[in-house]
Every structure is written in structure tokens, then in C-alpha cells.
């Protein structure tokens, strides 16, 4: 079950945390935010008691390495180091300060990190300039500098080589889709399996018309940049056309203003396309609230008051999925739901009449339109999925044989599995 983060709540928690942090030094009389400094020996050994308790200077960190961050847009050098854990004074380290110098320049402080960190990213490096770094370990008794790192030069890359497998799979996918689209345009017959949830769309609208009750369409709670919301909006166009043709009332409560304007345009265009523009009610697509549970309460209220006969729950849903679906079930509506959120699917399956599972939601617009070009893209998708399944099966066989028959890990199978894993893992 996922709760959507709320900015307000996060800010509220941060404010509380900040208030507590600011209060602690005042209560204890300490100065926890004082910047560590190098103390004179006379300051440290101010009394015989201190003499017995004095911590030693922190140890110098070792293995300082500076390297250009790979596959980035340049300007970043990563600095790493190790701390000799057994050295005396390690436990007193309060943090690390990172200094940098270029040829002909003096040491300059560029940042500091907490004692648990062993890495720092210098985002202020200039591409092409050679830098060396010194890491200073700091404690309340003073500081110790490390040996300088080797030289490092930041540079920008034109291609993220680590993403090559993604590029190749994407290209294959694009080619497969374009191939089947081309075939569909050429008049080839493409078989698409029956999806009961989509077959029931027209029946649900028809039933609402017969009963004289409205159709409720809920396009999820995410913004229009979410692909699940886009998929829901494409189905909304189809539902709106049916509703306009039958003269049924349509209700579309939304949780995002951009989704609202998009949905309004889609519904208006559907009414216009069916020659029923006069029947279009601009208030049928209404904004409720951006708040997750406020929206849930609003939609539940609409369900109970308006008693829709058909309820469509399509798009991206989180914790509110079951609350909405159970309310729809309680009013006796025929419910068609669909989402790509795997954690919400069981709730829809339990409470709704039909559920579009994962990819079926994205296939809906192609399925409903029955346009050959759209169906072609579905076939391309299926082909890519088939290839991925073959790769998974191949990986399973090669990995299993390598582990069971040649357990020393040096066989061809083990190497082949490692290669497959590094590409697709």
C-alpha cells in the first residue's frame, strides 16, 4: 500500500526536526554546530583532568582517489577515501573537509561531509582542468590532512555507454512496432486476443443508459505526465463518444487541473464528433482536489449521491483504489477498473467486475479503436515481450546449468550467464 507523499507533511516534519536540532545545543549548553577547528595544545591540555582524557589527533585518511564521474555532462569529480579503522583517534572524527588545488593554485576548501561518508562529489570542477584533492579528517582536538590524491580531470561524455543495452532493446522495439504498423497499413490481418474488460465497456454504458443513471469515469489521481493517466484519457474519449451517442450523463471528477482541462477537451470533442455538442455539459468534468484522500472522499460522495450505473476506475491509483472500488460495489454499479500498479491490482480484482491488468490498460485505445495502425503497435509490443521471455528462459537455463553442472564458476555457461546478467540485469 503506497501513500502519496505530501509536500506539506514533509515540510512539517522538517520543521519539527529543525526545531529539535536547534533546541538541543541550547539545553545542553553545547555548540553542536560550531565548525571544528585546530586547537592549540594549551587549549587542549588546560587542566590535569583534561590531560587524562585528551583524545589524540584524528588519523589521516588513506587511499584518496579522485576520478571523473563517468557518463555525465562533465564538471563533476568523485573523491573517495578510506579511514584506517584501527588507528587511534578514529572514533573522535567529527567529519571530513575536502580541499582542492589545481597547478599553480593554493589549497581551497570545497566542501565537508559527515564522519560516516567516504565519498564526495565535487560539482564545481571545470572540464579540462587537472585537480588534486586533500581530505582533512577533523575532530574536536584538531585535524590531520591526507596525502594528495592523484590528478583528475573532469570531462563530459557524448554517450552513456552503460545504457547501450537499453538503446538496443528500444531500437528493436521501435523497429518491431514500425514493422507491424507497416504490415497493418498493407492490409495484413492482425489477431488480437479478446480482452473481456474492454468488451464490457459498451455494455456498461448501455446498461447505464437503460437504467437512466450516469456513468462515472475516474482517471486516477496522477498528473497528465503519468502514462497511466494518458491511457485512461484515451479510453475516456471512447466512453464519452458512447455516452454522447446514447444521451447518458457523464461524470468525470479529476484530481489534477491539467488532467481536468485535457479531459474537458476530450469529452467536448467526443460530443462534437457525434453531433451532440449541444448536450455537452462543461461541468461534467470537474476538479475536486489534489489531496489524495480528499479526492477519495469527493468521489465516494459522488457515487453515493449520484448512484452511477457504470463506474470506470482507470489510471494510476494508490491506497484509495479499494475505498473507491468498494463504494462502487456497495452502490451496485458495474465496475471496470485498470491500473499498472501491481500492488493495487488485487483490490480491483476483488472488488470490480472487470479488471484491465497492466498492459491491457495501455492496449485499450488500440483495442477499442480497432484501427489497423494501432493494432500493429500492439503486435510489435508482443514480439518484444516474446524476445524478453526468451532471454529470461535462456538466462535461467544457462545460469542453472552453470551453477549445477559446473559449480567452479569458470565454465562457458557461467561466463555466458554473467554476460547476460551484465546486459539485462
Amino acid at each position: 500500500m503506497t501513500l502519496r507523499d505530501t509536500t506539506h507533511r514533509t515540510r512539517f516534519s522538517l520543521l519539527i526536526a529543525l526545531a529539535v536540532l536547534l533546541t538541543i545545543p541550547a539545553l545542553t549548553g553545547g555548540d553542536s554546530f560550531a565548525r571544528p577547528r585546530s586547537l592549540a595544545t594549551s587549549e587542549i591540555l588546560s587542566s590535569p583532568t583534561d590531560l587524562a582524557m585528551v583524545p589524540v589527533l584524528p588519523p589521516a585518511v588513506c587511499g584518496v582517489q579522485a576520478t571523473d564521474v563517468p557518463e555525465d555532462g562533465g564538471g563533476i569529480i568523485s573523491v573517495t577515501w578510506e579511514v584506517p579503522e584501527d588507528a587511534p583517534g578514529t572514533e573522535f572524527i567529527t567529519g571530513f573537509e575536502i580541499f582542492r588545488y589545481a597547478p599553480g593554485e593554493t589549497l581551497a576548501l570545497i566542501g565537508d561531509v559527515p564522519p560516516a561518508d567516504r565519498e564526495f562529489e565535487d560539482g564545481s570542477a571545470e572540464d579540462g582542468t587537472t585537480y588534486q584533492y586533500v581530505v582533512r579528517s577533523v575532530s574536536r582536538s584538531g585535524f590531520t590532512d591526507s596525502e594528495p590524491s592523484g590528478p583528475a580531470v573532469a570531462s563530459a561524455q557524448w554517450f552513456a555507454r552503460g545504457r547501450l543495452p537499453v538503446l538496443l532493446v528500444t531500437l528493436f522495439f521501435c523497429i518491431a512496432v514500425l514493422f507491424f504498423v507497416h504490415r497493418a497499413k498493407g492490409g495484413a490481418e492482425l489477431f488480437i486476443r479478446k480482452i473481456p474488460g474492454l468488451e464490457a465497456v459498451d455494455d456498461a454504458v448501455g446498461r447505464a443508459t437503460e437504467m437512466g443513471r450516469p456513468v462515472l469515469f475516474v482517471p486516477g489521481i496522477e498528473t497528465v505526465s503519468e502514462v497511466g493517466t494518458l491511457a485512461a484519457l484515451t479510453i475516456l474519449g471512447h466512453v464519452a463518444k458512447r455516452v454522447a451517442t446514447h444521451g447518458t450523463r457523464l461524470l468525470v471528477p479529476v484530481a489534477d487541473p491539467i488532467v481536468m482541462t485535457t479531459a474537458q477537451e476530450i469529452v467536448r470533442a467526443a460530443y462534437a464528433e457525434t453531433g451532440q455538442l449541444d448536450a455537452y455539459d462543461p461541468g461534467s468534468v470537474a476538479y475536486l482536489t489534489y489531496d489524495q484522500f480528499g479526492y477519495t472522499a469527493g468521489v465516494d460522495g459522488i457515487m453515493v449521491r449520484e448512484r452511477p450505473e457504470a463506474v470506470f476506475l482507470l489510471g494510476t491509483f494508490y491506497a484509495e483504489s479499494l475505498i473507491l472500488a468498494e463504494t462502487g460495489h456497495a452502490i451496485g454499479a458495474i465496475q471496470i477498473a485498470g491500473t499498472k500498479e501491481t500492488s493495487q491490482l488485487p483490490f480491483f480484482v476483488a472488488a470490480c467486475d472487470y479488471t484491465l491488468i497492466g498492459e491491457e490498460l495501455f492496449a485499450a485505445s488500440s483495442y477499442l479503436s480497432r484501427e489497423p495502425v494501432m493494432l500493429g503497435s500492439l503486435k510489435g509490443q508482443d514480439l518484444t515481450k516474446m524476445v524478453i521471455i526468451y532471454v529470461i528462459v535462456l538466462g535461467f537455463v544457462v545460469g542453472s546449468v552453470g551453477a549445477l553442472v559446473f559449480p567452479d564458476g569458470s565454465s562457458f555457461f557461467s561466463r555466458a550467464f554473467d554476460a547476460l546478467y551484465s546486459w539485462f540485469g
Partner: protein, 210 residues
């Protein structure tokens, strides 16, 4: 023309975003971050449209004395009061999120309990949905019932107290058949999402443009 320009903008935006995923070098590297800022700005202005829609719908209901007008009045008053206390908080404390701000009072003692109340309803709905889903009407439903009982018992201390079988069995169910099905759905959904994005970028899918 009315459709060509939006389609062209969609294609070019999508194309350059895909390029920026593979090319970290400027000017592509930070493109996504920049566009997210644009999106945030557009969303901010679009919020005004949302508030306008909300205001009109409920104001109409109040003026025409329709059923539920008192609820509409309560909603509009809440909206105005929350806005007012936010502005007061900003004026007095420099931020509506200041601990002493009246906005935070409304948020802490009004909005959070209301959200928690709605979320708490879920527990009851889970019970009613489970009751229907777990009825052993056929073989598959019986299998679901048995799996659910094992998982539920395996995840609470009483399950382990009854038998060590329950924690082990629930772990296997969650790690093997459940995860396999979940990953299958996720792979299909991811490919479906990519396929749909491709249809939109290539202008094959146009229903969102109406």
C-alpha cells in the same frame, strides 16, 4: 494545422528527452530537469483553473439552491478560510509552514485527521473485499483462500507459534509464485507504457488531442 503543431511539439519534445537519456553532454544532459521546471510552472497556473472550476460548480449549486448546497457552502468556506490563514501565516511568520502559523494549526488539527479517517476506512473495506474474494466457489478461489490464510498466519507471531511451516511457506509464496506473477505483469506494463509512448510520439495515438 490545428493538430500538426501539437503533434510536432510532442514528437520533438519526446525525441529530445530520449536523446538526453543517452547523451549526458550539454545541451541535452540537463534537458529533463529544465522541462520539469517548465512543467511545474504550467501546473502552478493550471491550479488556478482547477480552483476556478471548483468555485463555479459549488457556487452554482448554492445560488440555485440545489440539493447539497450546505455541503457546497462548507467546502467553499473551508477553501477561503484555509487560503486566508495561509496568507496570514505568510504575512506574520514569513511562511505559512511556520510552526506558530494558523495554517499549520488548520493542517495539523483539521486536514491530517480527515486524511487519517479516510485512510482508516481502508481496513474495513479490505475486510469486506477479502470476504468476497476468499469465498471458496471453485478450485482457483480455494487456492487463493488457502494461500491467503498461509500468508496471513505466516506474517503474524501466532502463525509461528502454531507451526514453523507458516513463516516458511508464506516466504516461499511471496518470493516465488507471487513475485513471478508480479514481475510478469510489470514487464508487460512497462512494455505497454513504452509502446503507448511510442504511439504518442509518432502521432499514431491522437485521441488525447481530440
Amino acid at each position: 494545422m490545428k493538430r500538426t503543431v501539437p503533434l510536432l511539439i510532442t514528437f520533438l519534445t519526446g525525441f529530445f528527452l530520449i536523446v538526453s537519456f543517452f547523451v549526458p553532454h550539454e545541451p541535452f544532459g540537463q534537458l529533463e530537469q529544465r522541462l520539469l521546471v517548465w512543467f511545474a510552472i504550467v501546473s502552478g497556473f493550471a491550479m488556478l483553473l482547477g480552483v476556478d472550476s471548483l468555485f463555479r460548480a459549488h457556487l452554482k449549486r448554492i445560488v440555485r439552491a440545489r440539493e447539497g448546497r450546505w455541503h457546497s457552502l462548507a467546502l467553499l468556506l473551508s477553501l477561503v478560510v484555509t487560503l486566508a490563514v495561509g496568507i496570514i501565516g505568510f504575512a506574520r511568520f514569513g511562511s505559512p509552514f511556520h510552526m506558530q502559523s494558523p495554517f499549520m494549526f488548520v493542517y495539523t488539527y483539521g486536514i491530517i485527521p480527515l486524511q487519517a479517517t479516510m485512510f482508516a476506512l481502508l481496513a474495513f473495506y479490505i475486510a469486506s473485499a477479502s470476504y468476497r474474494a476468499f469465498r471458496a466457489r471453485n478450485t482457483v478461489a480455494t487456492l487463493l483462500l488457502v494461500s491467503a490464510v498461509i500468508v496471513m498466519l505466516g506474517r503474524v507471531p501466532i502463525g509461528a507459534a502454531i507451526s514453523q511451516f507458516f513463516p516458511v511457506a508464506q516466504e516461499w509464496i511471496m518470493d516465488v509464485p507471487q513475485l513471478a506473477a508480479k514481475r510478469g505483469i510489470q514487464i508487460g506494463a512497462a512494455l505497454g507504457a513504452v509502446s503507448m509512448s511510442l504511439r504518442i510520439l509518432l502521432g499514431i495515438e491522437r485521441s488525447y488531442l481530440s
